[in-house]
Subunit: 119 residues, 2 copies
């Protein structure tokens, strides 16, 4: 029940596309991640995924369009929908999603992160 | 899959302690609410509750201590834990909690809000 200061947490993250767990509640995780550059196209079979921009902005690419998500904006990507986040500059993102969610969804490659650490 | 701008949504909220649903995912709700003044002491039997401060600050009172939650900070109140948010000035709060969550938890009074509207 200690409060969590996002800036303090993000200051400790020194790698891109490397999500850390800020807290868990109701079998959901709040994750903090820095994006920079393009991620991999993927979808999540069973999980909806919320992206909230704490600092900066990024493009959420869908197969048929792109949504620009700015600071203090959020977007929900429903399960099954292919997406690819792309960030021209560093962006700080808070994710809300089930604890079961794998960052690269249906894809496993060198961007895949398992057994995430608490931050 | 439209993005949600928090400031635009909050600008439409004209009452305190009147949560609106911003979106639903994984049977969870993201709610937006403006706090001002003291709420009611309560707990949630089955739901953990996340409070994220978008603008302003408030005091989360527990029976044995108070946590000051500032802008860009969050706090999770586990199920069963009595709490009371108190805001000296208007504060904009984003909640993340199961769709089943009633704002006043185990208490029903004139602050209780059911059948929340989308915003």
């Amino acid at each position: 029940m200690e409060k969590i200061n996002l800036a303090e947490k993000f200051d400790r993250i020194d790698a891109y596309w490397d999500p850390r767990i800020a807290c868990e509640l109701n079998s959901q995780h709040v994750k903090l991640v820095k994006f920079k550059g393009p991620f991999v196209w993927h979808h999540h079979e069973n999980e909806d995924e919320l992206f909230f921009v704490v600092k900066g902005r990024f493009n959420m690419e869908f197969r048929d369009r792109t949504e620009i998500v700015n600071e203090n904006e959020l977007i929900v990507v429903p399960r099954g929908v292919e997406h690819r986040p792309v960030a021209d500059e560093e962006v700080w993102v808070m994710l809300f999603e089930p604890a079961s969610t794998l960052n690269t969804g249906n894809i496993e490659n060198d961007l895949t992160k398992k057994n995430l650490d608490l931050i």
